[in-house]
Amino acid sequence: MEPIIIEGTSKTPSIRFDSKEGVFEIKGRSIPENSVEFYKPLNEWLDVYMQSPLEKTSVNIRLEYFNTSSSKCILDVFKRLESIHRSKHDVEINWFYEEDDEDMLEAGEDYDSIIKVPFKMIEIVE
């Protein structure tokens, strides 16, 4: 599978989904008006990856801002990861949040309570 690498913009995050390393990263701002349009190719890529995932998949989410429309799309990404985890493969989600950003920490905790995949909350200290 070809990796997906997308440069970030002021409204969309940088993306690096690499099936050879089993490392997926979403970083920056995710506040587009139409999130489905942005996340659809990522979820389609994951649909293929899910068919023969690596033994271990690591996911790093380092978001500064995300809108509620993105939150639904990110949940769709996590549901695919949950499916991989259910098929007896290691999946780990690292949720990064900036020091003092309680809203971002709470957002990670929301996902942690919905998705049955090990979540690690990692505070970024400036």
């Binding site: 002021s10 506040i31 999130s35 801002y65 509620t68 929301d110």
Partner: protein, 184 residues
């Protein structure tokens, strides 16, 4: 006197205006508002935690306006504008306030009012659970809209949503929504 959306927000206690816009709401305008407000908050050295909260609430307020404003009523003379609205951000002694006004079809008023009232009657914990429930269970539209915007604004601000509907004609009303983000 002709119908003017400005009149609907004139009864607010005026604070120091940070941003004001009246006109057609499109993606470029949203970008401009976000860039401009972020620059101002950085310039005045606002605390990062409050700055992020204000920015988050602004994003949701603007995107609510962008996605949910109905077309301008025929009888409202503003030229050839598809989605007309007002964006006002000001600061008073309580904190930052973000106000948006737009037109909405009258048949949507009751549903929207019920939704806001439900949020306003909920406790902090209930809003958190409502957010998670809607996030996990409500179907999204093809644009990714899932009914979370107002819940998110209420959750992030910790305040009641201040709103007003003003009837324009038999088909449309003006809808104004204010969110207050308290200073810490």
């Amino acid at each position: 006197m002709s119908f003017d959306l400005d009149n609907l927000i004139s009864d607010h206690n005026p604070g120091d205006a940070i941003f004001y816009f009246k006109g057609n709401i499109d993606s470029d305008i949203i970008n401009n508002v976000l860039d401009s407000v972020e620059f101002k908050l950085i310039t005045i050295n606002e605390h990062p935690r409050l700055r992020k909260k204000v920015y988050n609430v602004l994003v949701e307020s603007l995107q609510n306006l962008y996605h949910h404003a109905d077309h301008v009523p025929v009888g409202f003379k503003v030229g050839n504008q598809e989605k007309y609205g007002i964006i006002l951000m000001d600061k008073n002694i309580e904190g930052y306030r973000i106000t948006t006004c737009n037109f909405i079809s009258n048949f949507r008023v009751n549903e929207l009012e019920s939704k806001i009232d439900r949020i306003n009657k909920s406790s902090v914990e209930e809003i958190k659970e409502l957010y998670k429930d809607v996030l996990n269970h409500q179907e999204v539209t093809d644009k990714g809209l899932g009914g979370l915007g107002l819940i998110d604004i209420a959750r992030k601000t910790g305040n009641k949503l201040d709103y007003k509907f003003t009837r324009f004609d038999d088909a449309y009303s003006a809808f104004c929504l204010s969110a207050l983000i308290n200073e810490e």
